[in-house]
Subunit: 352 residues, 3 copies
């Protein structure tokens, strides 16, 4: 990326004071930015840096009035912070999608099609009957099993693995080591104490704008025709376990190392902390909030609830109980004292 | 797979009423099945679907008497549900083992042998001195280090990794991202606060009929000649951690994200929940049951025990304590009230 | 490896009694060692084995006086145990670093350089502008993204993945399935309930002598120029989650399945148990000790502290509270009895 200050100002709808031809190839924090970088000033407490910065340009709010001489180019906009964010996103998109072409050796099975502007890294594997959309980036060592579908503008990072029949929407990012569609944990106990595998023949369906963090695992549904479902806009952190037949509603976010057991359904706009465990066959409504490390064993279908503890109950109640738990030694000795006092009461001794 | 109804009836030892030549290529639920599919009716509450289904055949119990006209072929058997299960398993085996042959490029080291009916996916790696049995399916990107052994009819899914010397029995399924035989976590503290690596030179030995879920890790034993041992029929879910020198008895099942520390031994027929942590150098007998998220710090060598909590103790006792934990604010205020009452007792005040 | 007893004695500065030309190719425990192996005797309770062993040589303390005839060669040293440890380490280094050369197919991008004595396994991928030092071992299916640096004598096991810009020091071991530098979990909530990705553009920097266990994930820092930092001598077990912008001080060890949230800083010489969860934006001093399964929500910047529980507090206090928690049913019934007694007191009834 290499732009002039004037090109960037034009993108942001801003006005320039200073060298509009200076060339910009990187973003930086105002305290650290160097020549060739563009930065921003939003919080007044960083104002002093604008007079010292080596950045080639700084984005400022349109009401900013310098108190000293400024050597960097200034770009005046409505909101400096959000303008910088726009630049950051554009730059990020640019570097995320810049790889194009096919590195060799790579594998493409029969009856599979890939869209335009695709990247297929070396040692990537695409099985048979796979449909890959436009502008999809498939990094080295990725495995796309037979009969998978990947929508436009999605990124499959190195070593992500899609078992047969997995469906991924548009604008998704599947990070390294993610496994989608492996066999759910279903085994029927036999009389001799052994277990028989229950065939797991469904698939995983991932909506649009979904991010799935590294080494997270999502198992396929049990029955052919059924799916483990990840809604639109869902954000999953690293090392999460999603069991067979789970359904996660739109825009729910889940932090790292959480596990959700089979057939449980989570509503929309949920916020689930890290290392949470949720039992199977439960239902949670929209806007369910679950604190880190909670162990949830009961359905809360109405949503709008905050849970904590293992087994989990209502967050505030948990904190009240836990506050007393921390003082249990005190409570216990007070009870003992009281017992002694009561036993030693003259009237009590008489009344025995 | 494409069979006639009569072929399927013959496999199940059932009798046909209807079109015995209809062709079947898929299994389906009676509510959703389409032409070409076979379904089953076991629970009477689904009976109405048998009169409406588009399935080409439905397996029913031999005492089933239709109350209306039925257009699908009926296959009468002893037990419709278990007959359907048999079909499901046969179909699952068929699709699981259908890949045969060697995709290129793939890597086969020196002095390594593979059996008949093998599948070696593109980019799979087999090191030196490896022995692979018959009907083994090694998916793309799998890594089989030097001196490994894999028994007959085992499946190594895409991107599973076997360090040198790993032994796997017959009829095992090792899912994507599983790591077997990586170095155990052994470090000797030095006087300067740093740690020296303790060489980990043993291996991992996996019995027959073992399933290991995606991204689970099993470390090798410390000493050359020793093994971390996974017994026959063990079922491990996803993202489990098994440390060096652990031993897990036959037919024990462990749910996702559980971790077992070094040198701990678990007996046969255990049931261990998800996100459980077990400390090192402990011994557990047969039929050990541990609730989800428990943290277990003491041996229970006699088996037949149910544990819960962190640190874990007996399940029922835990639930009793936890029930009171939830009401601690009430208990605490009752204690306070009582203290005040006793202090305000006239006799008590006199007796001071 | 094949040495004579006299070569080994010379390495250890020991004196030989017996056949100094016997050839040694393996280490073994004295109870199990066979011909061609060398063992050691340190603990007197194993002395009887020295008269029976088939080992070709046994290392003994210099004050050892055999009580019977010994057929194996004896190597007398200052400290038999530590001498054996030295041999074990030498042997381990030898087998760890013995692979040399480039297996095909493997991928090497543009402007990338590799040092001498390198091993590049089949299907390993090295992107553009990568610098790899001397005696580095890159196993099959490893992914080294663009602009990465790997120091001398480091081992990248099969299927480890380094996103662009990752830096690894000398003498590190990165195990299978490790992901370094994936995008941190940063999403800005939007008014419609959806989330916008916050670009994650920093990297991961790993010091010297660091071991990272299988399937552990370390996310990159958010800002370009910032790093998630792993200090020298840090030992990370398997399946650990380290979020963006975390910093871990030198010689801190962390057990399996622990998760550390974004921007948290851990001091030097810490010891963190398994399945611990640590919230974001916290600071912990040197010598921080955290018990297994703890959930830590508050900074402890002064170090030298032991924490336990969820939310965590001081270890001893936790154990005291937990001891009473286990007896809560007893405490609760005692309170109830006391309430009844006090209510039934004659004086109390009068005073109402």
């Amino acid at each position: 990326m290499e732009f002039t200050v004037s090109q960037i100002a034009s993108l942001l709808g801003g006005e320039i004071k200073g060298n509009s031809n200076a060339s910009i190839n990187m973003l930086g924090k105002i305290q650290e930015a160097k020549q060739g970088q563009i930065s921003f000033l939003s919080n007044p407490k960083y104002e002093s840096f604008v007079y010292e910065t080596q950045a080639s340009a700084v984005i400022v709010n349109k009401d900013f009035v310098p108190k000293k001489e400024v050597s960097t180019a200034l770009v005046f906009v409505e909101d400096a912070y959000s303008s910088f964010t726009i630049l950051l996103e554009e730059y990020y998109k640019f570097i995320s999608f810049q790889k194009v072409g096919v590195e060799q050796p790579s594998f493409l099975g029969e009856n599979s099609s890939v869209g335009s502007e695709i990247y297929r890294g070396a040692f990537s594997y695409i099985g048979n009957n796979v449909k890959v959309g436009n502008n999809v980036k498939i990094y080295p060592h990725s495995y796309i099993g037979d009969d998978c579908t990947i929508g436009d503008n999605s990124i499959i990072q190195s070593g992500a693995r899609l078992y047969s029949g997995t469906f991924i929407g548009n604008f998704c990012v599947i990070h390294s080591g993610v496994v989608l569609g492996s066999a759910g944990f279903g085994f029927a106990p036999q009389e001799d104490g052994s277990y028989k595998t229950i065939p797991q023949m469904g698939n995983v369906v991932v909506g649009n704008n979904v991010d799935i963090g590294s080494n997270t695992v999502i198992d396929c549904a049990t029955f052919h025709g059924d799916s483990t479902k990840i809604g639109n806009g869902v954000k999953l952190d690293n090392l999460i376990q999603i069991a067979h037949n789970v359904s996660i509603g739109d825009n729910t976010v889940i932090a790292a190392q959480t596990g959700i057991s089979g057939s449980t359904s989570i509503g929309k706009n949920g916020v689930i902390g890290g290392q949470v465990g949720i039992a199977g066959h439960l239902t949670f409504g929209d806007k369910t909030s679950i604190g880190a490390q909670a162990g949830v064993g009961k359905s809360k279908p109405n949503g709008n609830i905050k849970l904590m503890g293992s087994p989990a109950f209502e967050l505030l109640a948990y904190h009240k109980s836990y506050a007393i738990f921390k003082n249990l030694p005190d409570l216990s000795s007070r009870l003992k004292q009281l017992e002694e006092k009561v036993l030693n009461l003259p009237t009590f001794q008489e009344s025995k």
